[in-house]
Symmetry: D2
Subunit: 331 residues, 4 copies
């Protein structure tokens, strides 16, 4: 009974099906009919002109986005627990040619506008200090927290007011939108680029890098190729993304994962370390309690010495979730 992560879950049957259909075509790179449909699909989703590129990983999506916004001598303001800082093996430094991640604190791995102001305001505007060129946030955050529409509006106002770009790491953007129940644009408003996650949500190997500024996309195309991310059979990636969007599969899958997390959250009660808003649940537990859970067949990661992390997925088995909920309640 796996609650380790959503990042290795099986591929959704409708994604498989779409990939098989893609066999028929054979224009290389992104010249195929499926890849050519991405811009329109995302423009419809967000109600504004979008340019969308497939890439294989969230790391590639995040870092290509940042590289289009930030010169090598610039900086990116982000949370110190952001995926780009903590889990991407230095990829932002690679793609941006050494730009600096400028780290903020913030509850639940979220960034507050005031923190951006404080950091930017503390810098001398001279060549001795790296100047920020963009802000990157994660929606839903690394602790499964979700920025509300009005929070994003306030944050974007500060970001734009300082002439910075805004990137959103949406590895679990579907979970955020499912939680908010809002129009997708409301969940990423103000972004210049969004890493729209599919892999954690039933996809296999495709994330969509969505640009709301077409000039950035033009540069990103060259950088994608240069980073070895322009697959010759790109149609199989486009197929995955389109399958996600069609019929709202992305939200359907996210809702399932979110509901499972809520179920666990209710069982956890006072143990919750963070409010559960997406598909991650962080619990205070002793080592003994974790052993007890593992002895019952549940797999998950420790979270420090006093906690654990549970992640649900599009395919979390309801019986497993129920069993885990009962086991937690019984601790």
């Amino acid at each position: 009974m796996l609650f380790l992560s959503d990042n290795a879950a099986a591929v959704h049957p409708r994604v498989w099906e779409a990939m098989r259909v893609a066999d028929a075509s054979d224009a290389p790179y992104d010249g195929d009919a499926l890849s050519q449909r991405l811009d329109a699909a995302f423009s419809a989703l967000f109600g504004r002109d979008c340019t969308a590129l497939w890439v294989a990983t969230g790391t590639a999506a995040n870092c290509l986005a940042l590289a289009t916004m930030v010169p090598p001598h610039g900086g990116v303001i982000c949370h110190h627990e952001a995926h780009i800082e903590a889990d991407e093996g230095g990829a932002p430094g690679f793609f941006t040619h050494g730009a600096k991640l400028m780290l903020l604190e913030g509850e639940g791995a979220k960034i507050a506008p005031a923190a951006i102001e404080a950091l930017a305001g503390s810098l001398r505007n001279d060549v001795h200090q790296v100047q920020p060129h963009a802000v990157s946030i994660t929606q839903a955050s690394e602790y499964g927290r979700v920025y509300r529409s009005e929070e994003l509006a306030a944050l974007a106002a500060v970001v734009k007011g300082r002439g910075l770009g805004l990137h959103i790491d949406g590895a679990r953007f579907a979970n955020a939108v499912a939680f908010l129940g809002c129009d997708p644009w409301q969940a990423c408003q103000g972004a210049d680029a969004l890493s729209f996650g599919c892999v954690k949500n039933g996809g296999m190997s495709a994330e969509a890098l969505v640009f709301f500024d077409p000039a950035l996309a033009d540069v990103a195309r060259f950088r994608r190729k240069r980073a070895g991310h322009l697959q010759s059979k790109g149609r199989y990636l486009a197929a995955q993304i389109l399958a996600m969007l069609e019929g709202g599969l992305w939200l359907e899958n996210a809702r399932h994962a979110n509901a499972a997390a809520q179920h666990l959250a209710v069982a956890a009660g006072q143990r919750l370390l963070h409010p559960v808003e997406a598909n991650e649940v962080f619990l205070a537990t002793t080592a003994t309690e974790r052993t007890a859970l593992r002895d019952q067949g549940f797999a998950f990661y420790d979270w420090g010495v006093d906690g654990l992390r549970l992640v649900t997925a599009w395919n979390s088995d309801s019986a497993h979730v129920e069993a885990l909920a009962r086991a937690i309640a019984a601790l």
Copy 2:
């Protein structure tokens, strides 16, 4: 009737099947059982200890290999028509942090040992000139030419004699081995790293980067992650590669493509611009002749103003090949 390239052909049924089976597992990244089998599979294939990493593209494989061998201030000797120089959008410069490609002439996009000696010998060994640290060749070459075992031995002797690393771009390595009919190691002997192509040979999105020097592989793992190429569902890539190797599918597919190319070569006769040794056929043709072929439904690329290129694939339809052979003969 497509003879444009092998790079967008459909995925082989046995590859599909292996990918579907991979659904069952779910350890992330390369911690899954399939990824863990790659080293042994290639060690068996080459009869020596190998370390193999999956990556999504040949560009990534080539450039990761070079980045492990060449410092940013160093150079890579290669043919001026090598894929890394001509078709990878500057990716070698990205992955190596600016190392220089040092270009040679050579018939059929092959490099002769004497050319390496001449270039290396012309350099002053001082800091004002970039010093070569590796040689990269392509097997089969960009013109479908194949290095014989004894050619490789001679080349490797020169390369090693100068203390350089040897990389082989094997995007069509299967075609080369199928042509040579030799032990696989004979077709890449002396290499420190081999980009073992699968995508052009019936795969979807997986190439194997094979290291014959484990120290290079250790560095490559970090660089793969840093380049956004460590997919979380890597088992689907491992599955493709293993499917290729199992039962000799890689050679079976390559033999089919090679045979189709030979069929066309016979029909082409004196028009051949290069001997046909793999699955590419270059013909002298006039613009009028190319139009005539296209009018009959054949798709292919021009090759300069006086030629065309035909590429066959694992799934080239025998009737199409036969039709094209006849059309060429009738020109």
Copy 3:
């Protein structure tokens, strides 16, 4: 009456004299007789084999050193107020091709061995997290604090125990040695590379990058050229460095600056924010007090809202120092 910094003080007459003498020679780059004497001069100074390269700035010295020790995918542990992090405009990211500065706290901008252990111990040894490859400390620190010989020994033991390189930013190394009154090696023991500062100590445009590991120096030579730092008239830089070393000018100058700082420290009494060990004095002051000092003709930088920084130099005028001491005492 300037106490802004030592970084723009006039050039010492004996340095001028040595530079004029260099006019006579004219071998280019570092092939001249003066440049060729650097290795021996530093080997004598430190009592061990050294390789020394001139460069124009401390930033170049620091970052070239780091680039020889740390791969692009690696990290450098340093203090969050280290010059390389706070004042070099992202140069470490440029020279290392994106390596990560991994920041520690520590009193007086010094790093404790335990802090290194804690940081290194908190990392998973996998490709998702940047792994440290070197530690960089500043002697004397950015707050004018000096590592004692035994502190260095303990720190080096931890650094070497983890297989890391050790770099010392010695922009004010002379001030540290003058304070310690020790053998120079005692003040940098365990270092693989030392940025030996001259510019702040009466030089014009030359710092010595001293390697205690000759393999690093071989790489650094190529990287110095590649960074545009191999001056064709390098003999004028070598002349500056040799003038510093000859007759102990470097220590003589540093002692003068240190003594001036001590004079000010005594006057400051309880206002001192840090013990004064080199040539920097940090005082708690109100804005009104700073205005009062400035009204008397003293120039210096604010240090936050409640403090100021004074820096003395090789040429600090005794009368100015005395006047400032009196003014501080009178606040």
Copy 4:
């Protein structure tokens, strides 16, 4: 009697004098009065708004200029014997983060507009091939050849017509202007950035990087710092450059060197490998003849197996030049 190069000649007395005067000031970096005068000095020289930054070397000037014009995924068209390609140790790849030098042939190391057109026209405008973003030429060229005003106009028209930037490596720009006897702008018209050489012309350690587009200069300032080229005692560099410009010293020095070269050219007669237009003389000679010259006390570099190179300088001794002229005539 040295004719090896102008790159290590002694510093001109008026440059020394200006540097000594700079001792008096002490604002750091480029905040001093001398550095602040550079923009106006070059604006007056070129009759248009200029922004000028000092740097220590021609390599730094060239590569900073290119880095402001060319993204990492772009290319720079230049001659295959250009200094940036042949003698800068890969520095363009470092400063530009891996941009590609796209090499042309051309008589006397000069580039013809048609060659630019041919190269640019041969590229597919897609992401698989590096796209040029700038052209770099050398005035006077590496063979001492000078672009005429009308040649520059034609070249600039092609460059601008393709939307590319134009950089001029003017390590010996003074020699070119002295030869042309024209308004300085005529000798670099169309350039976006000019590396204005001083070191080879009597300076010590300062080149001026002159931007005719102020937006480029704003970026270059950050990149200069990031490359460790922002010297804290920059006033000594500014002093050198201003001394060069004042009273036309730059042209006076260049005229001296050019005249010496002409003297040698006359003596060389039919042996000349290139027309002599600046301060370099290339002669066809046998090894025996070179030995004969060296036996008479002349120092110079071989140029291949059948030639030699002579370089005159601002301080070439007339008696030495006369002696060499006679020795050449007597061969």
